[in-house]
């Protein structure tokens, strides 16, 4: 397969992630959507890396996965803390802070 196929899939994943983040109100689903965006980016990185026969991209993917895991871990922890002070499922319930 040629590079473009990977890039198209990566782009699609990323766009789906963006749409999911914008449209789905459930916080966990939003986090998953963001994960989708990151995976689109990672796929693009890995595809370029293989195509360029350069390892830097793959290294970047590994780190990016790690960071994503850390982000989600913190996100879920915050969600737990949030649900203790306020029964919340959807992000649109969070509008105390505004203006």
């Amino acid at each position: 397969m040629d590079l473009n196929a990977y890039l198209v899939v990566g782009g699609l994943l990323f766009s789906l992630g963006v749409l999911g983040t914008l449209l789905r109100r459930n916080i966990i689903v939003m986090l998953i959507s963001i994960e989708l965006m990151l995976n689109g980016a990672n796929l693009t990185l890995a595809a370029f890396s293989t195509f360029l026969e350069d390892m830097a991209g793959n290294v970047m993917v590994i780190f990016s996965l790690t960071v994503a895991a850390a982000e989600v871990a913190v996100g879920l922890a915050i969600l737990v803390a949030l649900s203790r002070v306020f029964p919340v499922v959807n992000i649109d319930q969070l509008d105390d802070l505004r203006g």
Partner: protein, 643 residues
């Protein structure tokens, strides 16, 4: 001798520090500390002046502040005759005001705070005057603004004082906005901010840009010197304690605008358009403020508008290119305006803080010293021969006249559009008439006639010596300053001294004006103003019974006179009052409105934008996506073209 010049600003700074640190523990001493500090600065200035400051005095760098290769600024001092004259006025008047405040603020619980800000105010002004570059000047220009903000809002439990303080600060910042742009442009245009270096290269630079810089600097001066339409803050600044008003009006703040134009005179000399603009603004201000002063009933407001008007006249002189004359008027004005303010403070102090002239009257018996000095100050303001105001105001009118009649190509560097100065000259005469009128009206309403509020009148008393002594000293100044400094006209002591300053041109070459004729004209104008006021406001002065008995017709005469008063009121006064009310309305409605409207529009915009912040994270994300599209779209659409 010159090595100690830094002591001039240091003395008030020391006063500020001492009062600021220890003032709360020794509240009684603070006033004396502040007076002593400022007096010390005055004495040093006098010593320097006697020691002889010449125009080619080298500048003196105190501290190399910022040096980033292309951008170097020093804290430096430039002392030339212009700066020395300003320093003498500033420190001298301020010292008297500080002395006066010792008595005036005696009953105030927080007076240590007051006596802390006063030396800081003076320090800032002294540094402003002594500066050798525009940036240092601007810094202390801002400091002066900040101190005035603190002092106008001194009685912070008064809502109106807070509003006035904020207004003064904000209006000044409108002017400063122009000023800082002017400075930045000046830096890029001249590659330096030091006056001397600017003046050296001015001839080689594009005059259009120089003119623009002159305009922008003048906008700053308009804010600080309360020129139309940025004058709105000054009358409101009356909310501060009266000594502060005296300080602001006579010595420290409003003179800064006049000073900067005089200081940067080589810029203006090559910018005839800017000069005409300066004169036009000055004329409009002088006229508008004088008409408003006609109908004010608050004694301090009359004085405030008269300051605005007199400053306008100074700018007329500056606009005519007669820089030394403007400074001359600044100096004489400092004497009599400080005197009038302190005198009004004395009255207000005696009347339990009553400022409404309709509640006064007949005070001259109760307060003879205040009355006598106030009368002299008032007559000086009215420009009655031979008091101080006469000499300087006469020269201003002469300068406008000279400019108007100057033949093309005379040594007056800027002789473009000279014809318009006829108008400025005539308006100047009208302003003189009005000045004399409202000054006498103020004096008559305050000190003569029957007391209109007996309770207050009974309470009235003469002020203590710390307050009357400054009045006396200032009164001497108001009487003799003009004659001592200004005779012979255009070649007086002060002029000859100022001509030594780089750039201040000798007002010769266009021929001397018909001095005597002009002096007679302006004296007649001033006297007719006095006379009209006397006729119009003599009402209430009781005619002695003896006279009534001796001349049976006296009663009728009195009636008719009363009638004439009404005639006077009905024709002369009503007419001017109509003008005044209209321009006051314009002032309150349009100018204030514009200032307020720009604030309101900003607020409205702010509120609308605030509503974008919904608190919804997904809206934020959407905003980001819009941003992504815009950034990438913009880059892709416009990016290709550049290759």
């Amino acid at each position: 001798m010159f090595e100690v010049v830094w002591l001039i600003p240091f003395a008030p700074l020391l006063g500020f520090v001492v009062n600021g640190v220890a003032g709360r523990r020794i509240p009684r001493a603070t006033g004396w500390i502040s007076t002593g500090a400022i007096l010390g600065s005055f004495v040093l200035t006098v010593a320097l002046w006697i020691g002889g400051i010449t125009a080619d005095q080298p500048g003196w760098t105190f501290y190399p502040w910022v040096d980033s290769g292309t951008f170097a600024v020093n804290i430096g001092f430039l002392l030339d005759p212009l700066a020395v004259v300003m320093l003498l006025v500033v420190t001298g008047v301020s010292a008297l005001v500080a002395l006066y405040s010792v008595g005036y603020m005696d009953h105030d619980a927080a007076k240590s705070r007051f006596h802390t800000w006063i030396p800081l105010f003076v320090f800032s002004m002294v540094m402003l005057v002594m500066s050798d570059n525009l940036l240092q000047l601007f810094i202390f220009w801002e400091m002066v603004g900040l101190c005035s903000y603190l002092l106008i809002g001194y009685w912070h439990d008064r809502h109106s004082a807070n509003i006035a303080a904020t207004k003064a600060f904000l209006v000044n910042r409108i002017g400063d906005f122009g000023f800082i742009i002017g400075i930045v442009l000046a830096f890029f245009h001249f590659d330096t901010l030091r006056y001397r270096e600017i003046f050296e290269v001015i001839g080689d630079k594009d005059p259009a840009m120089t003119t623009a810089i002159a305009f922008l600097l003048f906008i700053g001066a308009m804010g600080k010197s309360a020129q139309f339409p940025l004058h709105v803050w000054l009358p409101d600044a009356m909310e501060g304690p009266t000594p502060v008003s005296a300080l602001i009006h006579a010595a420290t703040m409003v003179t800064a605008g006049v000073y900067i134009v005089a200081r940067m005179n080589p810029l203006y000399t090559v910018s005839p358009e800017a000069l005409i603009f300066v004169a036009a603004i000055g004329t409009v201000t002088a006229f508008v403020a004088a008409t408003i002063a006609l109908v004010q009933t608050d004694i301090k407001r009359v004085l405030a508008y008269s300051t605005v008007s007199q400053l306008g006249l100074m700018f007329v002189a500056l606009g005519a290119g007669a820089y030394s004359i403007a400074i001359f008027h600044l100096a004489t004005h400092a004497f009599f305006k400080a005197l009038l303010f302190l005198g009004s403070g004395s009255v207000i102090h005696a009347l339990n803080d009553e400022q409404d002239m309709r509640q006064m009257g007949g005070l001259w018996r109760k307060m003879p010293l205040t009355y006598g000095t106030f009368l002299l100050g008032g007559l000086a303001l009215a420009a009655v021969f031979p008091l101080a105001g006469f000499w300087s105001k006469d020269e201003i009118l002469a300068s406008a006249f000279l400019k108007a009649t100057a033949p093309a190509g005379a040594s007056l560097a800027a002789d473009h559009g000279a014809g318009i100065f006829w108008l400025f000259f005539i308006v100047g005469l009208v302003v003189s008439l009005m000045t004399a009128f409202y000054t006498l009206r103020m004096i008559l309403m305050t000190f003569h006639g029957k007391p209109r509020n007996q309770a207050l009148h009974d309470h009235a008393h003469e002020s203590p010596w710390v307050m009357t002594l400054p009045l006396g000293i200032l009164a001497i100044g108001a009487v003799v300053a003009g004659a001592v400094l200004g005779i012979p006209p255009e070649h007086g002591f002060l002029h000859e001294y100022l001509y030594k300053t780089a750039g201040i041109i000798h007002f010769e070459g266009a021929g001397d004006p018909p001095t005597v004729a002009l002096a007679v004209i302006s004296t007649l104008v001033a006297l007719s103003g006095v006379a009209i006021a006397f006729l119009a406001y003599r009402r209430g002065v009781p005619i002695p019974d003896a006279a009534r008995r001796l001349a049976p017709g006296a009663e009728k005469l009195f009636q008719r006179k009363w009638y004439m008063d009404h005639l006077g009121d009905g024709l002369m006064v009503m007419l001017t009052r109509a003008i005044a009310v209209v321009s006051w309305g314009f002032d309150a409605g349009v100018i204030d409105g514009l200032v307020n409207a720009s604030g309101a529009v900003t607020r409205r915009l702010s509120g609308e934008m605030q509503r974008l912040q919904t608190g919804q994270a997904q809206n934020y994300a959407l905003l980001m996506v819009v941003g992504i599209v815009l950034v990438i779209g913009g880059l892709m659409i416009f990016g290709g073209n550049a290759t």
